[in-house]
Point group: C2
Chain length 146, copies 2
Amino acid sequence: MSAKISLTPKEGKYLTFMYRRHVEEDERATTTILAKSFKVNPATATETVQKLAEKKLVEYTRYYGAKLTEKGICEAKKLLRKHRILEVLFVKLLRYDAEKACEEASKIDHYCSADLINAICRTYGHPDTCPCNKEIFSDSKCRRQE
Amino acid sequence: MSAKISLTPKEGKYLTFMYRRHVEEDERATTTILAKSFKVNPATATETVQKLAEKKLVEYTRYYGAKLTEKGICEAKKLLRKHRILEVLFVKLLRYDAEKACEEASKIDHYCSADLINAICRTYGHPDTCPCNKEIFSDSKCRRQE
DNA sequence: GTAAAGTTTAGGGTTTACCAAACATTTTTA
DNA sequence: TAAAAATGTTTGGTAAACCCTAAACTTTAC
């Protein structure tokens, strides 16, 4: 049993943002980039990254930047799964366009239980990509409970 | 233009709880009842009710209890609409039972935009009751944007 | 090697949501 | 009806989540 990780909504947003950099770009996110992206003061970004480091979700090197740990990657994937399954729901059920789907998903993804997300996932036949063609990570509990 | 009301998640829960008492029972909610329902210290319930009173959402009389104002009823209905539309979604789309649907709806109702709720409402043909047969209040913007 | 750019620290601030203990009011009941 | 019991409020905290400015420090690029 690993200690349960409790993420705040904002921490979750940082994590998913960093995941994208991590896999799509050059591996690290500087606090300045984070600060600009989230429109906050650099000091605030530093603070949040340090919180994530305390929780062992990122490896943080002062003046250099941060990089997700295995644990961080795992959490980011869980969140991205939620986000992307919600996007699928909004596009398929409500005919939202990808952008609007993303916007609405962002408002609630953090608050949705894994159970709820899995139920949606099953309903749509375990989609493997979101409306903008990004991977939807799988959850071992999802197919098992069919 | 009336000043925009900003409700915290907890305030929203209090408001909807009080709405039920207001229409289904004896019109007032004492702080003790609220404290018991939300499993908090009576002092906390008093504090929250006072916040709602400041926002003119309830009429609060010390040592007696609180009653929703027109504005409070209006806000409560907006929240209950969100909650109940989500319940419909979870029951119809995911075959959740009413209780589980309620539980999951409670986690996200506060964060869902009126737009999203209306889109779901349209998809299900403007249902007028939730899975437990309670009224789903209408939103004038919902049918208009068909 | 120094100046500019980038980053962190220190010290605050606000809001939300709690609690315990002391106090005030209302209700009950003996 | 007066005192005890139940109810409700005030006071004075705590903690977490976000956010900021200003000053100090480190890196980088000339």
